[in-house]
């Protein structure tokens, strides 16, 4: 049975280890925040994936418009000087 449209969608974020940031792992349906957190635990952390969970109502996410990707993202393609590749790293620095 698919959830009725009144059951909201939630985005799930997991932090896998201390010091790392929360990463988006997927979405789920749940009636409210508490059940969403439980469902996130049950669906996304079955194999020890996480130490911390966030659930966020999907409706709270403001997304860029795919139709505007030209305006939004293409201008950066012609600015290679923004990548830190134009200087020599001294050997003494080692692995960065």
């Amino acid at each position: 049975m698919t959830p009725t449209p009144t059951v909201p969608l939630w985005e799930v974020f997991i932090r896998s280890r201390a010091g790392l940031s929360h990463k988006h792992v997927g979405s789920l349906h749940a009636a409210d925040a508490v059940l969403a957190l439980q469902a996130a635990r049950d669906v996304f952390t079955r194999r020890g994936e996480g130490l911390s969970l966030w659930v966020v109502p999907s409706s709270a996410i403001v997304a860029s418009d795919p139709q505007e990707k030209g305006m939004m993202f293409e201008p950066t393609a012609s600015k290679p000087y923004r990548h830190p590749t134009f200087y020599e790293v001294p050997d003494e620095v080692g692995h960065m």
Partner: protein, 278 residues
């Protein structure tokens, strides 16, 4: 084609289907089997939801809880096998033997655990009643003087705590939800109430373990269970049944009509093809 290979095979299988094990039920073996049977039977009931739950999310939640319970059962069956005395010439029983080669009358689980799923409300109420007991029970059992039981308790305690939270949150939403969900939940509470008294029972065998501080007497959890249930009912807008008469029998192998069909399904493959692996 009388006597053909097909028919002979059929009769061989029929004979194999009777190879029920015998168990030497010392108090400790009996204790381990009782708790293991609770977990296995309830875990199996939850597995029946697999692919049928109201939502994908809940399908996985129920399967997770079922797997936790079956894992607890495995540890306890393993321990029973370790401590069960072996009569002359009889090979040791093992986890699979206890699960697949005992008849209904040899099962020692609570009647509550074998009650059918019926609807989602009934499944959640059953889980709530059971977990409201096992959550404080396993926490207390972590200080058992038996290191194996204490270790099983330490693992089960965290699992049961989540099972209780999960069931309680659903109880509140179902009881305080729509007219239909409320009616179904109250019906489940009324139907299952008479199976809750058995949670707190112990017999002479278990009393002897209590005296040796291996286990905690289940009646010690009656008040905390009652409080948990009352808080849940109050938040869910459910009525606590008045009935004081309680069903008993599971601990002694006297079961409701629901256990037989469950075992028939669960044991069918091993009974028909003993030792089959995949």
């Amino acid at each position: 084609m009388a006597g053909g290979p097909g028919l002979r095979r059929f009769f061989e299988d029929e004979n194999m289907a009777t190879n029920t094990i015998t168990v030497s039920e010392t108090p400790l073996v009996l204790y381990a089997l009782r708790r293991a049977d609770d977990s296995l039977i309830l875990g199996h009931r939850l597995s029946e939801w697999c692919g049928h739950a109201p939502t994908l999310e809940e399908d996985m939640a129920l399967a997770n809880i079922g797997l936790d319970l079956i894992g607890q059962a495995r540890s306890l069956y393993g321990y029973a096998a370790e401590v069960e005395p072996r009569e002359d010439g009889r090979s040791a029983n093992d986890e699979d033997g206890y699960a697949y080669f005992r008849d209904a009358g040899q099962y020692r689980n609570l009647l509550l655990c074998e009650q059918p799923n019926r609807d989602f409300a009934c499944t959640m109420v059953r889980q709530f009643f059971y977990s409201a007991f096992t959550d404080p029970y396993w926490r207390a059992m972590t200080s058992s003087s038996d290191p194996t039981l204490a270790a099983v308790a330490a693992k089960s305690e965290k699992e049961s705590a989540y099972h209780l939270r999960h069931a309680a949150e659903w109880l509140i939403r179902l009881g305080d939800g729509t007219e239909e969900s409320h009616a179904r939940t109250q019906r489940a509470v009324d139907a299952l109430w008479s199976f809750t008294g058995e949670l707190f029972d112990a017999d002479d065998a278990e009393d002897s373990l209590v005296a040796d501080r291996l286990v905690v007497h289940p009646s010690a959890f009656r008040d905390i269970w009652s409080d948990t249930v009352d808080v849940g009912f109050a938040r869910a807008g459910l009525r606590r049944p008045d009935g004081a008469w309680m069903q008993r029998g599971g601990r002694g192998g006297r079961h409701s009509e629901h256990l037989g069909p469950l075992l028939a399904e669960m044991q069918h493959l091993q009974r028909s093809h003993p030792g089959a692996r995949w």
